[in-house]
Assembly symmetry: C2
Homo-oligomer: 147 residues x 2
């Protein structure tokens, strides 16, 4: 029997990031969980869609809202392999999501660099889960781009 | 003959905001212009779509990228009736849009409140065009909500 731990869900996000990697997209994945069930999975699709707004988190927020038939995600948790950028943090603010769990930090483009208080005051934030795996995937991706 | 001035395009954005107003959405509109032609028009649809990411700017960015078949909007200008929020400013950052023109300021939820340097360093920012009309539309909307 599978235990539905935070690590289990972050690993689901990591699987999404790997799908992005395979498609030549910057490898970031996200899942949104409600009542301990995954209700949305997404990975970065900016290249495929030719759309800078198609980050994993944005696609997951839209999918979760569609699934729930509600635009606020107060009872949900999002697991993201990388620290969200200001756009995604701004979207997570509007969604009033209950918890944000991100793996690797993004010292260059992460929201904390722009404004660490960007998420909703009600949102609990956790970081570092599976950060090595998520970070390695990013490093491998950019190494491959340069080769 | 119509003169394609900044005011002309901001007025087009205002028309979009009025459509939002009529549909019971927070009245914000945006148009994106390339080579002095409007290539995308959008208004806030968060209620209709039940999606917090469906701000006028986000919809306009996606539509403009689809129109151009390119994800970067360096040669474009966006006209928005209200100062963009951090989510939309973050999206505009990624798009590397050439110019941002916004009408009314949003001292509570505008990006400048969060981080005034959120847009791309290459993006030129202008504000205040038709701000009275845009601001009045917002005030009328919230007054109607309270009545």
């Amino acid at each position: 029997m599978e235990l539905y731990t935070h690590e289990y869900f972050m690993n689901e996000a990591l699987k999404q990031a790997k799908l992005a990697f395979e498609e030549g997209e910057i490898p970031v994945g996200a899942v949104i969980v409600s009542k301990n069930r995954v209700i949305a999975r997404a990975y970065n699709q900016t290249e495929r869609l030719g759309d800078v707004t198609a980050h994993a988190e944005m696609l997951a927020i839209t999918a979760a809202a569609n699934h729930l038939g509600a635009k606020y995600l107060s009872d949900c948790r999002i697991y993201i392999t990388l620290e969200p950028c200001p756009m995604c943090a701004g979207a997570l603010f509007w969604s009033q999501i209950g918890e944000v769990h991100f793996g690797a930090s993004d010292p260059k483009r992460g929201f904390r660099q722009s404004n660490p208080a960007m998420l909703h005051p009600k949102t609990k934030v956790f970081s570092g889960l599976l950060e090595e795996e998520a970070g390695k995937l990013m490093l491998d991706f950019f190494k491959k781009l340069r080769d």
